[in-house]
Protein backbone atom coordinates (compact mmCIF):
# COMPACT_ATOMS: atom_id res chain seq x y z
CA UNK A 1 0.00 0.00 0.00
CA UNK A 2 1.25 3.35 -0.77
CA UNK A 3 1.19 6.53 0.96
CA UNK A 4 -2.37 7.63 1.19
CA UNK A 5 -1.23 10.23 3.62
CA UNK A 6 0.09 12.06 0.62
CA UNK A 7 -3.39 12.32 -0.75
CA UNK A 8 -4.09 14.57 2.17
CA UNK A 9 -0.66 16.08 2.41
CA UNK A 10 -0.87 16.99 -1.22
CA UNK A 11 -4.25 18.51 -0.59
CA UNK A 12 -2.82 20.29 2.42
CA UNK A 13 -0.22 21.87 0.19
CA UNK A 14 -3.06 23.26 -1.91
CA UNK A 15 -4.37 25.32 0.95
CA UNK A 16 -2.99 28.71 1.94
CA UNK A 17 -3.54 30.24 -1.47
CA UNK A 18 -3.58 33.99 -1.51
CA UNK A 19 -6.58 36.19 -2.18
CA UNK A 20 -6.28 37.07 -5.84
CA UNK A 21 -5.81 33.68 -7.46
CA UNK A 22 -5.11 34.17 -11.16
CA UNK A 23 -6.80 32.28 -13.94
CA UNK A 24 -5.31 28.82 -14.04
CA UNK A 25 -3.76 28.74 -17.46
CA UNK A 26 -0.86 26.36 -17.82
CA UNK A 27 1.85 28.89 -17.01
CA UNK A 28 -0.16 30.40 -14.18
CA UNK A 29 -1.11 27.05 -12.71
CA UNK A 30 2.50 26.31 -11.86
CA UNK A 31 2.86 29.68 -10.17
CA UNK A 32 -0.40 29.05 -8.33
CA UNK A 33 0.86 25.75 -6.99
CA UNK A 34 4.20 27.24 -6.01
CA UNK A 35 2.58 30.13 -4.14
CA UNK A 36 0.21 27.74 -2.45
CA UNK A 37 2.96 25.40 -1.42
CA UNK A 38 5.17 28.17 -0.06
CA UNK A 39 2.37 29.64 2.00
CA UNK A 40 1.41 26.22 3.28
CA UNK A 41 4.94 25.37 4.32
CA UNK A 42 4.79 28.56 6.35
CA UNK A 43 1.65 27.40 8.14
CA UNK A 44 3.14 23.98 8.78
CA UNK A 45 6.30 25.43 10.26
CA UNK A 46 4.60 28.14 12.28
CA UNK A 47 4.57 27.90 16.06
CA UNK A 48 0.95 28.95 16.53
CA UNK A 49 -1.24 26.68 18.67
CA UNK A 50 -3.12 23.92 16.90
CA UNK A 51 -6.62 25.48 16.92
CA UNK A 52 -5.21 28.60 15.28
CA UNK A 53 -3.47 26.56 12.65
CA UNK A 54 -6.67 24.68 11.99
CA UNK A 55 -8.59 27.91 11.49
CA UNK A 56 -5.97 29.20 9.10
CA UNK A 57 -6.10 25.97 7.18
CA UNK A 58 -9.86 26.09 6.98
CA UNK A 59 -9.87 29.59 5.54
CA UNK A 60 -7.44 28.61 2.87
CA UNK A 61 -9.09 25.26 2.14
CA UNK A 62 -12.30 27.08 1.33
CA UNK A 63 -10.55 29.52 -0.95
CA UNK A 64 -8.33 27.17 -2.87
CA UNK A 65 -9.93 23.74 -3.02
CA UNK A 66 -13.18 22.85 -4.71
CA UNK A 67 -14.38 20.85 -1.71
CA UNK A 68 -17.96 20.68 -2.90
CA UNK A 69 -16.84 19.40 -6.28
CA UNK A 70 -14.77 16.66 -4.69
CA UNK A 71 -17.60 15.75 -2.32
CA UNK A 72 -20.06 15.56 -5.20
CA UNK A 73 -17.74 13.36 -7.19
CA UNK A 74 -17.20 11.10 -4.20
CA UNK A 75 -20.92 10.41 -3.95
CA UNK A 76 -21.15 9.45 -7.62
CA UNK A 77 -24.60 8.60 -8.86
CA UNK A 78 -26.02 8.85 -5.35
CA UNK A 79 -25.72 12.62 -5.36
CA UNK A 80 -28.87 12.84 -7.46
CA UNK A 81 -30.64 10.44 -5.11
CA UNK A 82 -30.13 12.77 -2.16
CA UNK A 83 -32.50 15.65 -1.41
CA UNK A 84 -31.03 19.19 -1.19
CA UNK A 85 -30.93 19.13 2.59
CA UNK A 86 -28.99 15.87 2.61
CA UNK A 87 -26.68 17.19 -0.06
CA UNK A 88 -25.90 20.26 2.00
CA UNK A 89 -25.34 18.29 5.16
CA UNK A 90 -23.15 15.78 3.37
CA UNK A 91 -20.93 18.48 1.88
CA UNK A 92 -20.57 20.09 5.30
CA UNK A 93 -19.60 16.78 6.91
CA UNK A 94 -17.20 15.95 4.10
CA UNK A 95 -15.55 19.31 4.57
CA UNK A 96 -15.08 18.67 8.28
CA UNK A 97 -13.70 15.18 7.77
CA UNK A 98 -11.25 16.46 5.18
CA UNK A 99 -10.10 19.29 7.42
CA UNK A 100 -9.61 16.88 10.32
CA UNK A 101 -7.51 14.55 8.20
CA UNK A 102 -5.25 17.36 7.06
CA UNK A 103 -4.89 18.91 10.50
CA UNK A 104 -3.96 15.58 12.03
CA UNK A 105 -1.07 15.28 9.58
CA UNK A 106 0.44 18.71 10.17
CA UNK A 107 3.06 17.52 12.62
CA UNK A 108 4.60 15.13 10.12
CA UNK A 109 5.34 17.88 7.66
CA UNK A 110 7.70 20.05 9.59
CA UNK A 111 10.60 20.98 7.40
CA UNK A 112 8.92 19.79 4.22
CA UNK A 113 10.22 21.04 0.89
CA UNK A 114 8.79 20.73 -2.58
CA UNK A 115 9.78 21.37 -6.16
CA UNK A 116 7.40 22.19 -8.98
CA UNK A 117 7.91 20.17 -12.13
CA UNK A 118 6.10 20.03 -15.44
CA UNK A 119 2.70 21.52 -16.12
CA UNK A 120 0.42 19.64 -18.46
CA UNK A 121 -2.47 21.68 -19.82
CA UNK A 122 -5.85 20.01 -19.98
CA UNK A 123 -9.38 21.04 -20.69
CA UNK A 124 -10.48 23.66 -18.20
CA UNK A 125 -7.15 23.98 -16.43
CA UNK A 126 -3.86 22.20 -15.98
CA UNK A 127 -2.14 19.47 -14.05
CA UNK A 128 0.98 20.51 -12.18
CA UNK A 129 3.53 17.93 -11.10
CA UNK A 130 5.47 18.40 -7.91
CA UNK A 131 7.92 16.39 -5.89
CA UNK A 132 7.50 16.57 -2.14
CA UNK A 133 10.44 15.97 0.15
CA UNK A 134 9.84 15.27 3.78
CA UNK A 135 12.91 14.95 5.97
CA UNK A 136 13.96 11.30 6.36
CA UNK A 137 11.48 10.10 3.75
CA UNK A 138 11.90 9.21 0.09
CA UNK A 139 10.59 11.85 -2.34
CA UNK A 140 6.96 11.56 -3.42
CA UNK A 141 5.42 12.57 -6.73
CA UNK A 142 2.22 14.54 -6.31
CA UNK A 143 0.13 15.92 -9.15
CA UNK A 144 -2.26 18.82 -8.62
CA UNK A 145 -5.25 19.07 -10.88
CA UNK A 146 -6.02 22.77 -11.07
CA UNK A 147 -9.24 23.98 -12.63
CA UNK A 148 -10.67 27.31 -13.68
CA UNK A 149 -13.94 27.69 -11.84
CA UNK A 150 -15.55 30.97 -12.82
CA UNK A 151 -12.39 33.04 -12.96
CA UNK A 152 -10.50 31.79 -9.92
CA UNK A 153 -8.26 28.79 -9.72
CA UNK A 154 -9.29 25.87 -7.58
CA UNK A 155 -7.73 22.55 -6.84
CA UNK A 156 -9.96 19.79 -8.08
CA UNK A 157 -7.94 16.73 -7.25
CA UNK A 158 -4.65 15.59 -5.78
CA UNK A 159 -2.90 12.56 -7.19
CA UNK A 160 -0.20 11.15 -4.93
CA UNK A 161 2.01 8.44 -6.45
CA UNK A 162 -0.70 7.67 -8.95
CA UNK A 163 -3.60 7.47 -6.48
CA UNK A 164 -6.30 10.10 -6.83
CA UNK A 165 -8.01 11.52 -3.79
CA UNK A 166 -11.34 11.88 -5.58
CA UNK A 167 -11.37 8.40 -7.01
CA UNK A 168 -10.37 6.76 -3.74
CA UNK A 169 -13.00 8.61 -1.76
CA UNK A 170 -15.59 7.69 -4.34
CA UNK A 171 -14.69 4.01 -4.13
CA UNK A 172 -14.98 4.13 -0.37
CA UNK A 173 -18.34 5.89 -0.25
CA UNK A 174 -19.99 4.03 -3.12
CA UNK A 175 -19.02 0.72 -1.59
CA UNK A 176 -20.33 1.81 1.79
CA UNK A 177 -23.62 2.87 0.20
CA UNK A 178 -23.95 -0.40 -1.68
CA UNK A 179 -23.60 -2.31 1.56
CA UNK A 180 -25.98 -0.08 3.47
CA UNK A 181 -29.09 -0.17 1.35
CA UNK A 182 -28.08 2.65 -0.99
CA UNK A 183 -29.13 5.07 1.73
CA UNK A 184 -27.43 8.45 1.67
CA UNK A 185 -28.80 9.06 5.16
CA UNK A 186 -26.83 6.07 6.42
CA UNK A 187 -23.69 7.57 4.95
CA UNK A 188 -24.42 10.90 6.59
CA UNK A 189 -24.92 9.20 9.94
CA UNK A 190 -21.66 7.31 9.53
CA UNK A 191 -19.79 10.54 8.80
CA UNK A 192 -21.34 12.14 11.87
CA UNK A 193 -20.22 9.22 13.99
CA UNK A 194 -16.74 9.46 12.55
CA UNK A 195 -16.51 13.15 13.41
CA UNK A 196 -17.85 12.55 16.90
CA UNK A 197 -15.22 9.87 17.46
CA UNK A 198 -12.44 12.12 16.24
CA UNK A 199 -13.36 14.95 18.56
CA UNK A 200 -14.44 12.71 21.45
Amino acid sequence: MRRTQFLLSGLALGLALLLSAPRARAQDAAAFVRQTGDALVQVVNSTAPRPTKREELERVLDRTVDVEGIARFALGRFWRAANPQQQQEYVHLFHEVLLNSITSKLGEYRGVQFTVGRTVPRQGGATVQTVILRPNNPPTNVQWVVADTGGSAKIEDVIAEGTSLRVTQQSDYISYLQHNGNSVQALINALRRQLAQASG
Binding site: D157, S164, S175
Partner: protein, 284 residues
Protein backbone atom coordinates in the same frame (compact mmCIF):
# COMPACT_ATOMS: atom_id res chain seq x y z
CA UNK B 1 -1.99 -1.98 -25.82
CA UNK B 2 -5.71 -1.79 -26.68
CA UNK B 3 -7.92 -1.24 -23.71
CA UNK B 4 -10.44 -3.87 -24.71
CA UNK B 5 -11.80 -5.45 -21.58
CA UNK B 6 -11.35 -9.11 -22.22
CA UNK B 7 -14.54 -10.71 -21.04
CA UNK B 8 -13.60 -14.29 -21.69
CA UNK B 9 -10.70 -14.69 -19.24
CA UNK B 10 -12.60 -12.60 -16.69
CA UNK B 11 -15.68 -14.73 -17.05
CA UNK B 12 -13.71 -17.94 -16.92
CA UNK B 13 -11.81 -16.87 -13.86
CA UNK B 14 -14.96 -15.71 -12.16
CA UNK B 15 -16.69 -18.98 -12.94
CA UNK B 16 -13.80 -20.98 -11.63
CA UNK B 17 -13.73 -18.90 -8.53
CA UNK B 18 -17.46 -19.28 -8.15
CA UNK B 19 -17.25 -23.04 -8.47
CA UNK B 20 -14.56 -23.10 -5.85
CA UNK B 21 -16.25 -20.74 -3.46
CA UNK B 22 -19.75 -21.81 -4.43
CA UNK B 23 -20.40 -23.61 -1.18
CA UNK B 24 -19.47 -20.52 0.76
CA UNK B 25 -21.74 -18.39 -1.40
CA UNK B 26 -18.56 -16.51 -2.19
CA UNK B 27 -19.71 -14.82 -5.32
CA UNK B 28 -21.24 -11.42 -5.50
CA UNK B 29 -24.08 -11.06 -7.94
CA UNK B 30 -25.11 -7.97 -9.80
CA UNK B 31 -27.87 -6.08 -8.00
CA UNK B 32 -31.12 -7.92 -8.77
CA UNK B 33 -33.48 -5.81 -10.84
CA UNK B 34 -30.91 -3.09 -10.48
CA UNK B 35 -30.67 0.00 -12.59
CA UNK B 36 -28.35 0.11 -15.57
CA UNK B 37 -26.11 2.36 -13.51
CA UNK B 38 -25.90 -0.14 -10.69
CA UNK B 39 -25.02 -2.94 -13.07
CA UNK B 40 -22.39 -0.82 -14.73
CA UNK B 41 -20.95 0.00 -11.32
CA UNK B 42 -20.80 -3.71 -10.55
CA UNK B 43 -18.88 -4.36 -13.76
CA UNK B 44 -16.53 -1.46 -13.17
CA UNK B 45 -15.77 -2.61 -9.66
CA UNK B 46 -14.81 -5.96 -11.16
CA UNK B 47 -14.96 -7.79 -7.85
CA UNK B 48 -17.23 -10.81 -8.47
CA UNK B 49 -15.61 -12.66 -5.58
CA UNK B 50 -16.29 -9.89 -3.12
CA UNK B 51 -17.80 -11.97 -0.28
CA UNK B 52 -14.84 -14.35 -0.34
CA UNK B 53 -12.44 -11.44 -0.59
CA UNK B 54 -14.01 -9.73 2.38
CA UNK B 55 -13.72 -12.93 4.35
CA UNK B 56 -10.00 -13.13 3.60
CA UNK B 57 -9.73 -9.43 4.39
CA UNK B 58 -10.98 -10.20 7.90
CA UNK B 59 -8.60 -13.14 8.17
CA UNK B 60 -5.75 -10.93 7.04
CA UNK B 61 -6.64 -8.23 9.53
CA UNK B 62 -6.44 -10.85 12.26
CA UNK B 63 -3.08 -12.17 11.12
CA UNK B 64 -1.82 -8.63 10.76
CA UNK B 65 -2.88 -7.63 14.25
CA UNK B 66 -1.40 -10.78 15.74
CA UNK B 67 1.85 -11.10 13.82
CA UNK B 68 2.89 -8.52 11.28
CA UNK B 69 1.92 -5.27 12.89
CA UNK B 70 3.58 -5.99 16.27
CA UNK B 71 6.67 -7.23 14.45
CA UNK B 72 6.78 -4.08 12.34
CA UNK B 73 6.25 -1.82 15.31
CA UNK B 74 8.97 -3.60 17.24
CA UNK B 75 11.27 -3.34 14.27
CA UNK B 76 10.63 0.39 14.01
CA UNK B 77 11.20 0.83 17.72
CA UNK B 78 14.35 -1.24 17.98
CA UNK B 79 16.16 -0.41 14.77
CA UNK B 80 17.20 3.17 13.89
CA UNK B 81 16.01 4.58 10.58
CA UNK B 82 19.34 4.62 8.71
CA UNK B 83 19.80 0.94 9.49
CA UNK B 84 16.25 0.19 8.36
CA UNK B 85 16.91 2.03 5.12
CA UNK B 86 20.07 0.02 4.71
CA UNK B 87 18.22 -3.24 5.25
CA UNK B 88 15.64 -2.20 2.69
CA UNK B 89 18.37 -1.39 0.19
CA UNK B 90 20.11 -4.70 0.81
CA UNK B 91 16.87 -6.63 0.31
CA UNK B 92 16.21 -4.77 -2.92
CA UNK B 93 19.71 -5.61 -4.03
CA UNK B 94 19.13 -9.30 -3.38
CA UNK B 95 16.09 -9.13 -5.67
CA UNK B 96 18.16 -7.63 -8.47
CA UNK B 97 18.33 -10.80 -10.58
CA UNK B 98 14.54 -11.01 -10.66
CA UNK B 99 14.18 -7.27 -11.31
CA UNK B 100 16.72 -7.47 -14.11
CA UNK B 101 15.02 -10.46 -15.72
CA UNK B 102 11.69 -8.63 -15.65
CA UNK B 103 13.19 -5.44 -17.04
CA UNK B 104 14.61 -7.40 -19.95
CA UNK B 105 11.36 -9.25 -20.62
CA UNK B 106 9.11 -6.20 -20.54
CA UNK B 107 11.25 -4.96 -22.41
CA UNK B 108 12.61 -1.87 -20.66
CA UNK B 109 16.15 -1.44 -21.94
CA UNK B 110 17.06 1.68 -19.99
CA UNK B 111 15.70 0.28 -16.76
CA UNK B 112 17.55 -2.98 -17.35
CA UNK B 113 20.74 -0.97 -17.55
CA UNK B 114 19.86 0.85 -14.34
CA UNK B 115 19.24 -2.43 -12.52
CA UNK B 116 22.44 -4.02 -13.73
CA UNK B 117 24.59 -1.04 -12.80
CA UNK B 118 22.85 -0.73 -9.44
CA UNK B 119 23.50 -4.37 -8.72
CA UNK B 120 27.19 -4.12 -9.62
CA UNK B 121 27.85 -0.84 -7.85
CA UNK B 122 25.78 -1.38 -4.73
CA UNK B 123 26.95 -4.95 -4.18
CA UNK B 124 30.56 -3.88 -4.19
CA UNK B 125 30.97 -0.25 -3.18
CA UNK B 126 27.62 -0.28 -1.43
CA UNK B 127 28.60 -3.32 0.66
CA UNK B 128 26.13 -6.07 -0.34
CA UNK B 129 23.57 -3.43 -1.18
CA UNK B 130 23.35 -1.74 2.19
CA UNK B 131 24.30 1.66 0.83
CA UNK B 132 22.56 2.95 -2.28
CA UNK B 133 25.60 4.47 -3.96
CA UNK B 134 24.30 3.96 -7.49
CA UNK B 135 21.42 6.40 -7.07
CA UNK B 136 23.86 9.28 -6.75
CA UNK B 137 25.67 8.11 -9.87
CA UNK B 138 22.57 8.44 -12.04
CA UNK B 139 20.95 5.03 -11.73
CA UNK B 140 17.65 5.58 -9.95
CA UNK B 141 15.99 2.68 -8.15
CA UNK B 142 12.80 1.07 -9.37
CA UNK B 143 10.70 -1.90 -8.43
CA UNK B 144 9.20 -4.28 -10.89
CA UNK B 145 7.78 -7.77 -10.98
CA UNK B 146 6.36 -10.32 -13.33
CA UNK B 147 2.85 -8.96 -12.83
CA UNK B 148 3.94 -5.67 -14.38
CA UNK B 149 5.78 -7.56 -17.10
CA UNK B 150 2.62 -9.45 -18.01
CA UNK B 151 0.59 -6.24 -17.95
CA UNK B 152 2.99 -4.72 -20.45
CA UNK B 153 2.55 -7.76 -22.63
CA UNK B 154 -1.18 -7.12 -22.63
CA UNK B 155 -2.42 -9.66 -20.10
CA UNK B 156 -5.59 -8.32 -18.42
CA UNK B 157 -5.55 -8.19 -14.67
CA UNK B 158 -8.67 -10.21 -14.00
CA UNK B 159 -11.01 -9.77 -11.05
CA UNK B 160 -9.87 -8.43 -7.72
CA UNK B 161 -8.56 -10.95 -5.22
CA UNK B 162 -7.81 -10.39 -1.58
CA UNK B 163 -5.31 -13.00 -0.48
CA UNK B 164 -4.32 -13.97 3.04
CA UNK B 165 -0.92 -12.49 3.97
CA UNK B 166 -0.28 -11.11 0.49
CA UNK B 167 -3.25 -8.76 0.67
CA UNK B 168 -4.85 -7.09 -2.36
CA UNK B 169 -3.99 -8.76 -5.64
CA UNK B 170 -5.50 -10.24 -8.77
CA UNK B 171 -4.91 -13.43 -10.79
CA UNK B 172 -2.27 -11.82 -12.99
CA UNK B 173 -0.26 -10.37 -10.12
CA UNK B 174 -0.59 -13.50 -8.04
CA UNK B 175 0.75 -15.57 -10.92
CA UNK B 176 3.51 -12.99 -11.24
CA UNK B 177 4.38 -13.40 -7.60
CA UNK B 178 4.80 -17.14 -8.11
CA UNK B 179 6.82 -16.65 -11.26
CA UNK B 180 9.15 -14.23 -9.47
CA UNK B 181 9.89 -16.83 -6.80
CA UNK B 182 10.58 -19.39 -9.50
CA UNK B 183 12.88 -16.96 -11.32
CA UNK B 184 14.84 -16.09 -8.23
CA UNK B 185 18.22 -17.83 -8.28
CA UNK B 186 18.30 -17.88 -4.49
CA UNK B 187 15.34 -20.24 -4.56
CA UNK B 188 17.42 -22.86 -6.32
CA UNK B 189 20.93 -22.32 -5.02
CA UNK B 190 22.12 -24.88 -2.52
CA UNK B 191 20.16 -27.16 -0.28
CA UNK B 192 20.07 -28.08 3.34
CA UNK B 193 18.77 -26.51 6.48
CA UNK B 194 21.08 -23.47 6.51
CA UNK B 195 20.07 -22.41 3.02
CA UNK B 196 16.38 -22.94 3.77
CA UNK B 197 16.71 -20.96 6.98
CA UNK B 198 18.40 -18.12 5.14
CA UNK B 199 15.69 -18.03 2.51
CA UNK B 200 12.91 -18.08 5.07
CA UNK B 201 14.75 -15.42 7.03
CA UNK B 202 15.02 -13.24 3.98
CA UNK B 203 11.27 -13.45 3.27
CA UNK B 204 10.46 -12.81 6.90
CA UNK B 205 12.62 -9.69 7.02
CA UNK B 206 11.12 -8.57 3.70
CA UNK B 207 7.63 -8.91 5.10
CA UNK B 208 8.44 -6.97 8.26
CA UNK B 209 10.28 -4.31 6.28
CA UNK B 210 7.35 -3.89 3.89
CA UNK B 211 4.84 -3.74 6.73
CA UNK B 212 6.90 -1.19 8.65
CA UNK B 213 7.05 1.16 5.68
CA UNK B 214 3.26 1.51 5.57
CA UNK B 215 2.42 1.45 9.28
CA UNK B 216 1.05 5.00 9.41
CA UNK B 217 -0.85 4.84 6.16
CA UNK B 218 -2.65 1.60 6.93
CA UNK B 219 -3.61 2.87 10.36
CA UNK B 220 -4.97 6.06 8.85
CA UNK B 221 -7.12 4.18 6.37
CA UNK B 222 -8.50 1.82 8.96
CA UNK B 223 -9.39 4.75 11.16
CA UNK B 224 -10.92 7.13 8.64
CA UNK B 225 -12.34 5.06 5.81
CA UNK B 226 -15.99 4.09 5.95
CA UNK B 227 -15.19 0.93 4.03
CA UNK B 228 -11.47 0.12 4.42
CA UNK B 229 -11.72 -2.96 2.21
CA UNK B 230 -13.01 -0.89 -0.71
CA UNK B 231 -10.41 1.79 -0.05
CA UNK B 232 -7.55 -0.72 -0.12
CA UNK B 233 -8.98 -2.24 -3.28
CA UNK B 234 -9.13 1.13 -4.99
CA UNK B 235 -5.68 2.23 -3.85
CA UNK B 236 -4.12 -1.07 -4.89
CA UNK B 237 -5.56 -0.84 -8.38
CA UNK B 238 -4.71 2.81 -8.91
CA UNK B 239 -1.19 2.33 -7.68
CA UNK B 240 -0.70 -0.76 -9.79
CA UNK B 241 -1.93 1.03 -12.89
CA UNK B 242 0.36 3.95 -12.18
CA UNK B 243 3.37 1.61 -11.86
CA UNK B 244 2.51 0.03 -15.21
CA UNK B 245 2.02 3.42 -16.86
CA UNK B 246 5.26 4.72 -15.42
CA UNK B 247 7.18 1.77 -16.83
CA UNK B 248 5.54 2.16 -20.21
CA UNK B 249 6.17 5.91 -20.29
CA UNK B 250 9.83 5.71 -19.34
CA UNK B 251 11.19 6.97 -22.63
CA UNK B 252 14.68 7.93 -21.56
CA UNK B 253 17.18 7.52 -24.37
CA UNK B 254 19.06 4.25 -24.63
CA UNK B 255 21.89 5.58 -26.75
CA UNK B 256 25.33 5.24 -25.12
CA UNK B 257 26.71 8.50 -23.75
CA UNK B 258 29.67 8.67 -26.15
CA UNK B 259 27.38 8.40 -29.19
CA UNK B 260 25.65 11.44 -30.70
CA UNK B 261 22.44 11.75 -28.70
CA UNK B 262 19.07 11.97 -30.46
CA UNK B 263 17.09 15.18 -29.82
CA UNK B 264 15.02 14.99 -26.65
CA UNK B 265 11.46 13.89 -27.50
CA UNK B 266 8.98 16.82 -27.31
CA UNK B 267 6.49 16.09 -24.56
CA UNK B 268 3.07 15.86 -26.23
CA UNK B 269 0.08 17.47 -24.45
CA UNK B 270 -1.22 15.10 -21.85
CA UNK B 271 2.00 13.16 -21.77
CA UNK B 272 1.80 12.91 -18.00
CA UNK B 273 0.48 9.62 -16.74
CA UNK B 274 -3.24 9.79 -17.42
CA UNK B 275 -5.21 10.55 -14.28
CA UNK B 276 -6.73 7.43 -12.78
CA UNK B 277 -10.23 6.66 -13.92
CA UNK B 278 -12.69 4.25 -12.45
CA UNK B 279 -10.59 1.50 -10.93
CA UNK B 280 -11.57 -1.98 -11.87
CA UNK B 281 -11.71 -1.51 -15.59
CA UNK B 282 -9.42 -4.08 -17.05
CA UNK B 283 -6.21 -2.10 -17.45
CA UNK B 284 -4.47 -1.83 -20.78
Amino acid sequence: MPAIPSRVPLFATAMLGCLFAGGLGGCATPPPGGSAEAVQEYRQTNDPLEPTNRFFYKVNTGIDAAVFKPAAEGYRFAVPRPVRNGVHNALANLSSPVTLANDIMQPSPRRSGDTLMRFLINSTVGIVGFFDVAKGLGYPPHDTDFGITMALWGVPSGPFLFLPVLGPSDPRDFAGFGADIAMDPFTWVGSGTTVTALNVGRYAVSAVDARERVLGEVDQIKKTALDPYATFRSLYRQHRQSEIDETRNDKRATVPAWFPQPPAPAAPAGAANPPPTAPGQTPK
